[in-house]
Point group: C2
Chain length 225, copies 2
């Protein structure tokens, strides 16, 4: 049965066209500024047609992310070759930030907008999500880093460590995206801020500058305010 197959293919092709148009516009103008009508105009179809392929604007947006974030996943995957987990942690941070710099609108989309509620959805719904893969990779690296015994004993929960490191770099980017116009801040170059964050975190984890391999003293004592 040829015709049916062809139709199916054509349907897929149109969907791809929509995604391409949407990608272009979202990346250039940001989520809010892009209208369904504009996307439709770009592909020379009526706005209504888009709704035959996507439930609503957010659904389109989300599918686009899912599709595109392979780039993100691929960049991360390359870092598997870094043997030392602590160095890999650093590399992860730098790569993550680089992605944010290269694709600011995608970054915003993925990390700075309310996530959909996965409540109730099965694992299949989010399996294969590059964001998840990246987090898993970060988590594994954190665990390995801890396993080297070179970190301060306070940092022994891989999950907590991964979340904290992630938050640090994310903070640099997020602040950059939303606050870079504050006139009372003499912003340092983004790259410099990223590097400082990465260094600071690793310094904090190792808690002994550069080449110390053993933690200097086990008792950290109370840290209360």
């Amino acid at each position: 049965m040829g015709p049916i197959d062809r139709r199916e293919r054509e349907k897929e092709k149109l969907k791809k066209e929509i995604l391409d148009a949407a990608r272009h516009l979202f990346a250039r103008d940001g989520y809010d500024s892009v209208t369904i009508r504009a996307i439709a105009e770009r592909i020379e179809y009526s706005p209504r047609t888009i709704y035959l392929h996507f439930k609503d604007k957010e659904d389109l947006f989300r599918e686009l992310c899912q599709h595109d974030f392979n780039e993100f996943g691929q960049r991360f995957a390359k870092l598997a070759s870094v043997k030392d987990p602590v160095q890999r942690l650093k590399a992860l941070g730098l790569t993550y930030a680089e992605f944010g710099e290269d694709f600011p609108n995608h970054y915003r989309l993925m990390f700075m907008s309310e996530a959909p509620d996965y409540e109730g959805k099965g694992e299949e719904e989010w399996k294969g999500n590059p964001e998840m893969d990246a987090y898993a990779f970060l988590l594994a690296t954190a665990a390995e880093a801890i396993a080297t015994g070179r970190l301060l004993p306070a940092y022994k929960d891989p999950e907590l460590l991964a979340q904290t490191v992630w938050a640090g770099i994310h903070g640099v980017l997020a602040l950059h995206f939303s606050k870079c116009n504050d006139p009372w801040v003499k912003w340092r170059p983004l790259k410099k801020r990223v590097k400082t964050m990465v260094d600071l975190q690793v310094d904090g984890l190792l808690a002994a500058p550069v080449k110390a391999t053993k933690r200097p003293s086990p008792n950290i004592g109370k840290k209360g305010a």
Copy 2:
């Protein structure tokens, strides 16, 4: 001239009513979900009236922030009594995060949405802004901390240090607000993540656990990936 004054007072009172209604709604529902019409309905005036007091929705929103962020400024001001600048840095982080926890929607408003362009506006436009005061305070604390000589020599730029520390805590909050539903992350409690971030950063700055007062070794050498 009594009547004129009274009119002025009444005008101010109505403006305050608008702000109160807006605060309530913004805090409860978030910026996007609040409509001008809803605010108007709450104060039992027509929507048009709001435009007699504020240029547009964003202007209203911004004035509200400006007005409310005294709370923010006051919390910070209290920390001036912490003598040790490093401890004060810690306290600043914890207080900042506490504010975000207590007023998530205000936090979002102030730190997670595109700032207006201050381009071209004179200093008067943003003078007295509590956000600026808070940043100035953080900056001063960073400078003092550096001046103690207890930090690693790599961290000698107060501006860069302030920006990095801010970014770290902000990252924890921002990630929390937009990503706490990701099912593949076993999120640790927010308070714990905040504390970890603060500790990690201070550990990194001091680069010698706990009570070390002198930097252990001046040469940090290259940190490149």
